[in-house]
Subunit: 350 residues, 2 copies
């Protein structure tokens, strides 16, 4: 086994609906784009070895290593059970590599709940952060925005919302290279009096703490897809439901379009001529192009790929992990949270 | 002025971006479909009189009356200010007609917050209900579903969620003629352990109370557009954000489609042949076809039309109000809430 140094990414090679084939193929795609990045593939060597050897960019590479793991977390396993009995799983081992300093980031297409539970248990929450959050990359009229939390927590108080804001802003700086991303708090109206107590108190803290964050106040549900701000902050309950409601709507509109195109000879003819345009549309709406939720607030980079990820999709998630390591996301968050904590006693509400 | 009896609907003729022209035109469209329904049009007689006289189905009708109101609530007025100073507004007067028993329902395209505040103040919450809710009609893969609350309240405890369930179920029976509509609680997962405490406690109450409601447990954000259940229950914060996130996504996908169709000569040609199909799609996505949020839980039927409603859109909202009166929605809710209240001491959580 080759020594692991430099930028190494740890991969749960057995997690996800299409593992390990799509996972190894995805790593190969990412390796082609980032030949200087090393990989640890955690899983069954007998299954992984032939897949790795078949890939031009992986075979015989000294810094692409297979680390044996005898067990796999099932997609439907309960997080608590996985945590108790999962020490031999590819997921646990992949996270452990980050904990042990052998890799800078872990990517998995496996069980989300187990990934969260194990990451939290092994990597621990960063100092100064109450709970980690899941950040999603959301397609918008202007490009992309970051939305967090989309499901790590079932609720969030004002201070946690401010922590999410600090982490989300650092995330947007890391992946978009923006100097000062704009940020909004998700609410049911833009007036100061609107919303629940936690959201109102978080807005007040963000105004009073005078952090170097371009806080634009409240934004509403339709501002997410409009791209009104670069970072949208909300609690995990609301964020998860908004994300899935949006996904459901995209599917519904796609169905309407398919139905409409099948209605007449002319529309079918039109559909034939416009098939290139429809392919463009399909790619735009393809969740693979923005694959990868990121767990923020842990001592390490943890990227969750869609469970149904294919090679292309998984490669996008791996590329994202590499980007976040290169741009020092963990260090940025560590720095910004410390600054926030220092500001709170002076200016925060009693 | 003609005597008002039978089924009369009270109209805020001055509320909305296109008032009073679109409002009167919308009432005329609805009157054509429901010639037995009387209307009270509240607003400026000098502006309303010529509009009414110009409409075949309204002019000279004894049961279509203009009730003078000298003031108008502005679309941007604060609800509290409107409530204090708005006694001479068309909105206040239109609601007052329901309170005084002169009309069975009120329809307004005006200021939502003022409509809610004035309706609550004048019509009062029905006995046994803590807070009213706004129900929205949501297009789905299977047709339509009801989602509530979409914004009347910034939060809801378990008992309120159960009240929303009772009201939403009665609403679905009234407008769809379903004998036993299916109902789900919006959550971040479908397992019993998922979600915040209020949602979990509400699910337990719905199971234990043994109300005649076809409760299917938790549903997720993407289940709304999928049409998994007929009625989706959530708090007003989450519901409002989910609704607007869905609206924003529909706009985003429409933009993707327009951009894709403009990319090449072939796609433009295809778009020309498929223009009929695109018109069908546009109608499907047209908010006018499902216009009208309904305030549930008050002593009277209150229907909110979109502020930007045109005649067709406003007529849809008026038709909905007529339907709800005809199907005895207020009486159904009154009956079902009493039954719920009776069940709670016996089976509810301590």
């Amino acid at each position: 086994m080759a020594a692991v140094d430099g930028l190494t990414v740890s991969i749960d090679a057995m997690g996800g609906d299409n593992a390990p084939d799509a996972i190894v193929a995805g790593v190969a795609l990412s390796r082609e784009r980032h030949p200087y990045v090393g990989f640890q593939l955690h899983g069954d060597p007998q299954r992984l070895q032939p897949l790795v050897q078949a890939k031009k960019y992986l075979a015989d590479a000294k810094d692409v290593v297979i680390v044996p793991a005898s067990d796999v977390v099932g997609m439907a396993d309960k997080p608590s059970a996985a945590l108790r009995r999962g020490k031999e799983t590819s997921l646990w081992r992949a996270i452990d590599a980050v904990k042990e300093g052998k890799a800078k980031a872990i990517v998995s297409a496996g069980n989300t709940g187990a990934l969260m539970a194990m990451s939290l248990f092994q990597l621990r929450t960063m100092a100064g952060i109450a709970r980690p959050a899941i950040a999603a990359i959301w397609p918008t009229m202007r490009g992309q925005s970051i939305v967090l939390d989309v499901g790590a927590n079932a609720s969030a108080d004002a201070r946690q919302l401010v922590e999410f804001a600090v982490m989300g802003e650092a995330f947007a700086r890391s992946i978009y290279g923006l100097e000062s991303p704009s940020l909004g708090l998700l609410n049911v109206g833009t007036e100061e009096i609107k919303g629940n107590e936690d959201v109102k108190a978080a807005a007040q803290m963000l105004r009073e703490l005078k952090l170097p964050i371009d806080f634009r106040g409240f934004v509403e549900g339709d501002d997410i897809s409009a791209g009104t701000v670069d970072v949208v902050v909300t609690d995990g309950f609301t964020g998860n439901i908004a994300l899935k409601a949006a996904e459901g709507t995209a599917k519904l509109v796609a169905k309407y379009l398919r139905d409409a195109m099948r209605r007449s000879f002319l529309s079918k003819l039109g559909g034939f001529f416009a098939s290139g345009a429809f392919n463009t549309l399909r790619m735009k709406m393809d969740p693979r192009s923005v694959n990868g939720g990121v767990l923020l607030g842990l001592n390490g980079i943890v990227v969750k790929s869609h469970g149904s990820a294919d090679a292309l999709s998984f490669a996008t998630a791996v590329d994202l992990a590499i980007d976040l390591v290169k741009h020092g996301l963990t260090e940025k968050i560590h720095h910004d949270i410390a600054r926030m904590a220092a500001a709170i006693p002076a200016a925060g509400p009693a």
